[in-house]
């Protein structure tokens, strides 16, 4: 009989709010404190908490390591994609102003895109690191 009821129920209640808070930090990053890196770390923290309470096996069922590795690469692709996208539209690398007809809107879209790339990469790398360390076994000597 598992007696970690308080931890399990607490994690169950809090996990969705942690994920929502990560997105809040993400989209708040355009106007105030916050941004992709912090949001990615918070997003990853939700999965780390889940893995700590429910066990690594269950966490890997929810988010296989392959997906985490893919996220780490996908974010870089999004970031560089925004950069080359603005080059393709006639600006410099990461010149957001050319992304829309109105430079102001272009700046907005560009920042959202780049921050999304940062979020996905940081999330993927953080979870991959956690899996790598948590999956290690003690060497018996």
């Amino acid at each position: 009989m598992d007696d970690r009821v308080i931890l399990r129920v607490g994690t169950k209640i809090l996990t969705p709010f942690i994920l929502i808070f990560a997105l809040y930090v993400q989209f708040h990053g355009d106007y105030g404190p916050g941004g992709g890196f912090q949001a990615g770390v918070i997003f990853a923290a939700a999965f780390v908490l889940y893995a700590l309470v429910y066990g690594l096996g269950n966490a890997i069922k929810v988010l296989p390591p392959r997906v985490a590795y893919a996220c780490g690469a996908l974010g870089v692709i999004i970031f560089v994609g925004v950069g080359y996208g603005s080059m393709a539209l006639g600006g410099e690398f990461l010149n957001y102003s050319v992304l829309a007809h109105d430079p102001l809107h272009g700046q907005h879209y560009g920042i959202i895109g780049v921050e999304l790339g940062v979020l996905v990469t940081v999330f993927g790398v953080m979870v991959s690191l956690f899996y790598a360390f948590a999956g290690r076994r003690r060497i018996e000597s």
């Binding site: 308080i6 931890l7 809090l14």
Partner: protein, 114 residues
């Protein structure tokens, strides 16, 4: 009304700081893990709660001065307090469990202080 809200705000914030101070002394002075956890847990719920209450009084004062959108700040303060009330005891509980699982014996009266 201004004076009343300001006074309430200050009383709550100073009270919160007092609880945090007591909690810090407790963490430094208590004899073992579990008693220290008791002090540390109080810092989060009581101390931070009172500081948030003081901020809420201050925000209400600002709202009376025509800052009509500040009710959003109030909602955020209530949310922060709610999550603090959930997470802090759970964290304390987890630490105490980990201590017990790790074989730390609770300190009893009369024993030598670690």
């Amino acid at each position: 009304m201004d004076v009343l809200l300001g006074a309430l705000s200050w009383i709550a914030i100073v009270g919160g700081v007092f609880f945090m101070l007591v909690g810090t002394f407790g963490v430094l002075r208590m004899p073992d893990v579990y008693t220290r956890l008791h002090a540390a847990g109080m810092t989060d719920t009581m101390g931070a709660g009172l500081v948030l209450l003081g901020m809420a009084f201050h925000t209400v004062g600002d709202m009376l001065h025509g800052e009509t959108t500040y009710w959003l700040v109030l909602v955020r303060l209530v949310l922060i307090y709610g999550f603090l009330l959930l997470t802090s005891p759970i964290a304390t509980h987890a630490l105490a469990r980990a201590g017990l699982a790790g074989g730390v014996k609770p300190w009893t009266n009369g024993e030598e202080r670690a």
